[in-house]
Symmetry: C2
Subunit: 293 residues, 2 copies
């Protein structure tokens, strides 16, 4: 395919902005660039435009830009509020980047973008009803329903980390009492272990079996809630915590069976590990920009 | 329109089977019949077929039959499990009724059917992303996402009454600990008041303001969870409890604003009362049978 069919997928995190040159046909990543996500809205626009310019300077012909960002990313391209970006509130990020880069820009919630990528290219292939759960600093979720991304009215679907699972539970840093991510995020797991680990892996010897099992129950409890609401055929576990691998998957799977009411009369919900790793959000944003959802 | 475009919509409850002759064009109800829902699968098939025969004997030409039923109604027409029908488990209700009545039969969860009816003909008109919450013996929910019914992989979406909102909470009759319907169903409200009331209404003087307010908070807590997951533009309150009317709506609306994380950055979610009353499930089933979803 010709070079002008490439798309830049941008993933805006709490520290970095990552820009990937993606072939939306197969999701292959041709190049990468990185900048800081610090600053206000105009600064962020300049950062993204600078990364796109750098990638163009390297010879990539960029047909569109997709942006994935945590939080309330309005379908119109306005970033209402992102926990990662305290200085960028109610800011028309999509339109401003579009003006700066001169090609079409699409924007969406990062977990929703990641769900799109996993559905097309990763562990979500082959099912029409899918839930992706990313376990990191918080919990992000993205859903495919009947083959299509679930956006919601404003684009805010999938803020499931804020589901309350203990109505008079401990107060989370968000101010809510007892939300799912208070118990089941990567941050919560760090608290159980007593030491932060940005990316956990199978060999993590700080992780006793009983601690992991208790954590898996917390994850499964929220997953069970999502299954009651959405009835996905498959649930994918992603984010930094998913580096634990099979012990995490098996633990969540085991608890889920017991927690799901009516389990005897339901087809089993598949629990799998996500496949696309850290690139899922940016690759999904690129797919989105190419009209993929 | 000609009489042979009429459809029988069937609503199967814990005590009665109600069959309505519906014009799927405008949802108007032309006639009604009623039988008992007691017995096993074949008995239920005979009951429904008898009601359809009665309605035909009265001169209605029936082009199709739609069935709405609480619980796990498989999209293939198998009733996996219904709390209302302990004698009808893993039974191919849809195909068996179809064989008995000789016209096409569609089957779906009753709250999903009701959501379809409210979306087309009731309080859900005009929005593409809708949640219906029916507050009765338990809690049922049905969703419209991007203009289409949300079924889930097997047809089991919307079992949201079983969302856990208090992970170490009291044990519900289902065996779960702390599900939403334990706190927010009509049965739960009866418990708060100390006396059952199958259909509450505005003039219900058993309902002190502080009891209603506490109940509204329980409803709003689960609604807030659904909004975090699905981002509907509008939430409808239906079921017997919705007979309370505006005091219920206003109470849920008020609590929801405070419980929704990021509320300052979200468009407000409209809370309205459902409009179609007890007929919503049967009318929606009729629409479903006419290929309405």
């Amino acid at each position: 395919m010709s070079g002008d069919d490439l798309v830049v997928g941008v993933d805006i995190g709490g520290t970095n902005v990552r820009a990937l040159v993606v072939d939306p046909g197969d999701g292959s990543v041709h190049d990468r660039a990185r900048g800081s996500s610090a600053g206000d809205g105009p600064t962020l626009v300049a950062t993204i435009a600078g990364l796109v310019a750098d990638l163009r300077d390297r010879g990539h012909r960029v047909a569109a830009v997709g942006i994935g960002v945590a939080g309330l990313a309005d379908r119109s391209g306005t970033l209402r509020y992102s926990p990662n970006l305290p200085g960028v509130v109610e800011f028309p990020l999509g339109p401003e980047v579009e003006r700066a880069v001169g090609v079409p820009v699409a924007m969406g919630n990062d977990a929703t973008c990641a769900a799109l990528a996993e559905h097309r290219l990763g562990a979500g292939r082959g099912v029409d009803d899918l839930a992706l759960v990313t376990l990191g600093t918080g919990i992000g979720t993205g859903f495919v329903v009947d083959g299509r991304l679930l956006w919601g009215a404003a684009g805010f679907a999938g803020e499931s980390g804020h589901m309350v699972v203990e109505r008079y539970g401990p107060t989370h840093h968000t101010g809510q009492r007892g939300p799912w991510e208070h118990f089941a995020s990567g941050t919560a797991l760090d608290g159980l272990v007593g030491r932060p680990a940005p990316d956990r892996s199978v060999g993590d010897d700080d992780l006793p079996a009983d601690v992991l099992d208790g954590y898996c129950r917390e994850v499964a409890l929220g997953v069970a809630n999502l299954v009651q609401v959405l009835d996905p055929a498959r649930v994918l576990l992603g984010g930094g915590v998913s580096g634990i691998g099979e012990p995490l998957r098996a633990g969540v799977d085991r608890w889920l069976g017991g927690l799901l009411l009516g389990g005897d009369h339901r087809p089993p919900v598949e629990v799998r590990l996500a496949e696309l790793g850290d690139d899922a959000g940016a690759v999904g944003a690129a797919l989105l920009a190419r009209g993929g959802a």
